[in-house]
Symmetry: D2
Subunit: 312 residues, 4 copies
Amino acid sequence: MAVHHFQPTVYYTAIGTYPPVLEIQSGDTVVTTTVDSAGRDGQDQQVTPRGNPQTGPFLIQDAEAGDIVSIHFDHLSPNRKIGRTSTTIAPNVLDPHYVASQMPSGGGAEWEIDLGAWTAKLISPENQISNLHIPLEPMVGCFGVAPPREQSISTATSATHGGNMDYRGFAEGVTVYFPIFVPGALFYLGDGHAAQGDGEIVGTGIEISFDVQFTVQLIKGRDIGWPRAEDQNYIMTVGNARPLDQALQHATTEMVCWLVDLGLEKSAAHILLGQCIEYDVGNVFDPAYTMICKIKKRTLEQVGIWPSAVWP
Amino acid sequence: MAVHHFQPTVYYTAIGTYPPVLEIQSGDTVVTTTVDSAGRDGQDQQVTPRGNPQTGPFLIQDAEAGDIVSIHFDHLSPNRKIGRTSTTIAPNVLDPHYVASQMPSGGGAEWEIDLGAWTAKLISPENQISNLHIPLEPMVGCFGVAPPREQSISTATSATHGGNMDYRGFAEGVTVYFPIFVPGALFYLGDGHAAQGDGEIVGTGIEISFDVQFTVQLIKGRDIGWPRAEDQNYIMTVGNARPLDQALQHATTEMVCWLVDLGLEKSAAHILLGQCIEYDVGNVFDPAYTMICKIKKRTLEQVGIWPSAVWP
Amino acid sequence: MAVHHFQPTVYYTAIGTYPPVLEIQSGDTVVTTTVDSAGRDGQDQQVTPRGNPQTGPFLIQDAEAGDIVSIHFDHLSPNRKIGRTSTTIAPNVLDPHYVASQMPSGGGAEWEIDLGAWTAKLISPENQISNLHIPLEPMVGCFGVAPPREQSISTATSATHGGNMDYRGFAEGVTVYFPIFVPGALFYLGDGHAAQGDGEIVGTGIEISFDVQFTVQLIKGRDIGWPRAEDQNYIMTVGNARPLDQALQHATTEMVCWLVDLGLEKSAAHILLGQCIEYDVGNVFDPAYTMICKIKKRTLEQVGIWPSAVWP
Amino acid sequence: MAVHHFQPTVYYTAIGTYPPVLEIQSGDTVVTTTVDSAGRDGQDQQVTPRGNPQTGPFLIQDAEAGDIVSIHFDHLSPNRKIGRTSTTIAPNVLDPHYVASQMPSGGGAEWEIDLGAWTAKLISPENQISNLHIPLEPMVGCFGVAPPREQSISTATSATHGGNMDYRGFAEGVTVYFPIFVPGALFYLGDGHAAQGDGEIVGTGIEISFDVQFTVQLIKGRDIGWPRAEDQNYIMTVGNARPLDQALQHATTEMVCWLVDLGLEKSAAHILLGQCIEYDVGNVFDPAYTMICKIKKRTLEQVGIWPSAVWP
């Protein structure tokens, strides 16, 4: 149950089997930082090339392929005053005929982060919405573990190992479960957002460097197909693919499997999800899109499959 | 501002240019009923063939192609005790490999609707989730106006004219705006659900007959591309297409256009939506899927484009 | 076995249950004309509004829902000298980032049709490819029968009933089989192309009016799910949907079913198609895309399921 | 212009920055072998784990990111008597409702390869199509260069770097052009098929080990976005993505860019492709699907942009 204070000096823009920066044990907590998607740190200095650079990898001792690792985000906070966004909606998110004729010119926007007021305020460009200030909702855009088959996968996309999922629900207090594909799991994280609209449709949230604290747990001998998660109110599954229909298929199927893991007969799981399922949209900007499937914990309690421990 | 009490005797399973059952004026209110998706009425009697049979069409006087009609759902309530659902998740919503090997056998489920407790309780089949009772969230699955080009489109799908969108947000208190394609608009509605999971992934919500009251307003000389809506907290746009990516393109583009209609410069609309947009998933069962794009009214107020009247 | 000479005076831009223009019998031949997609006839006069106006509907006596009608294109020929195309690739067919920044401006092109040389020659605009002359490959872009559920479906799209499929293989000598959904089948055709690239990616082939001769056969009591076709070398199935993946699913499944109809065990049909299937791309411009699945007749002969009559 | 005879001893199931097995120069020819997708060699012995194991990587001296490498397949031939296929069409290629209820049970099939008669004959399982013998069409299923961003990408999928494209046109005599992302390019190849249906819809062609001879050319300082290719009759571009619509967008856009590279004005390229483009379907089994876009060389000659050298 050690607490590790780790200051990164190297960052990766692909998630793969790179040399671990720190070895930790199940139950340990890591206090660290992440740079923003452009490689800028808490002093707004460029310290590594752009492209969702990741802090890590963290090796979890005794982790093996076929196990699960859980990551609990104990604390997530922007650690500087300035955040940045793009300014035009991605052309893949708009009607092709609109894109052909009506796209505004691009550029960047800057936002002032006020941790006291807990808001982000648009400070440039000056335009009609200069009064806009929105509540902070810090979240981690890109995180995951080394993928299968000796792959190394760009932090500009996502798959079964996690990656750039850009889901607003991946915030402080959430626990995310990943399948493990390589010895030590090799966990990475980065791409913090002070806030973000669903889908990350301009290709950015409010990009900013973070102070992060997370705690890992190793769950031996349990396999999952896609990332799973839980927060106070929901259990959630994640599908990463294109089109969004396929991401939705992955997430829905993983949720059926989770309910069966929790003790429901398959036929009961289908009926239950039919009337109680909810979907959230994650990233719709990357090569792979992200769909989240979720169900309320209080619904599960009602049918007697909660609060069992998620994993025995 | 008349109030019409209308008892349907004919129902349609396509939305097109059929003879109007009632002529009304802008501002009028209609109190009527809908049968369930299987054609069963408030006495649970089969009165018309299955397939989302629609009450209507209601002709709005003076409505012409190029105008908009708004429908406010004043009151929506199940009007009988028994609702029904399917029991298996649709194969298009699950991983193909799961479908090939692990589908449970199908069938039907019955739910008891308790309007006092405001719950739906699963009463058959008996299984592990027999304790399940879920809060009622009455919503209209399928409604819309006669489509363009003299088309008549099945109530098993959706397009620019509305149709079978199965969005949980189409509940009491919402106002939905449709483009008008034919003289009189010709409004239809049906397919009430006592409750429904996102996506209508088993192909049904809790299907039930409804008492309905709605009020129409005609907005002359204003054109929109896709259905729009508002409730107490949000303005919303709707895209209907496959894949879900394309539905999302339609809904997002329509929202950009709406914000521009409301006075925002295009570049400001893009920045604003980038960090403040939200998506909800409607029907993912039909030939056309439904995606809803929405933004909070209080965000719009902050940037000074609300509470102007939506339509002058 | 009558031969009907029919001169159209009315045209439809949706395929539905409109009053028949001619009643014919199984075995009959019709000699008629079609206007081009813009409603211009053999004298290049606008005689009806644009939008793939259809000649028909032709009612086939004794045809009932659940039967099949076959259409053999005995003769297809442009009947004037001038054809027209659009000049820009549709934005839905190009990378969104290309569309956002590099689309050329639109316009129209004119082509001279030389029935002696059997070529189409670009005559305007003048540009680098003014020498281009391409072989004529006359084909019918849009044809089909009245759809199910009392629908009337725009000639700008396609579904199980046929419609705007824009497949280059729908040329003279092909026989196309449609499922019948309404009494009399109600067959329509139009949208002739002197030639066309795969996909109709500029939204047009070389649009031109046609002289057409076709012969119908009614096949009682046989049902199919999607249009099927055969020419000298292939049997073919058609899927119409978006995304193209789904069109491909429909066409592939229909081909498996056809092989089973022809006497193959399902497992043999799967093995055979695995190594012998071919795909062609039809329309990728419309709301619904078209994929063709085909297999060589000589392959079927080899395994002894051909030349049986296709339909007993 | 050396000829290298190379006997592989190590194989990779991901394409990335692994240590080169051989360094060659532009103009050099390599004579080597590939194992089948299951890791079985010319003696039908398992020599490496299954999963499209690749021979390579071959380092091309002086190759740098931003250059192009061309691979000409001088000779491709199965080098043993037995080939193997799967027997069931992949569930992602069939209608979900068919998959839910009608899938045959799986298994494997064996085919006898007769290099004299140039046929593959089904030898097991015994069933109705036991007479089936099909012409050999040897092709390479999976090949490409190390991808960008230090990625290593599974040979079960494809992207801008090539990979598992399973296109029947990648046969003897074709030249394929890849963008280079890493120093030395690092070329891999494997997954030979004696023959294959379009799409590789059972997840295999007739899988077999190969004798291969290929010749590489380095083209300095020329950049492309996606693989390009040419054979005797066509120039071709490749898009790898899901859905197939997006693969088609990539391939079409790359073809427009190629025509512009060859000297056509953009507007002329659009008109030309509109009436002359052709599409072929590659892999529709993997996470990424493959679409090929092509145009006849003789069409290009007609408009005066061929036979220039492809690359100056």
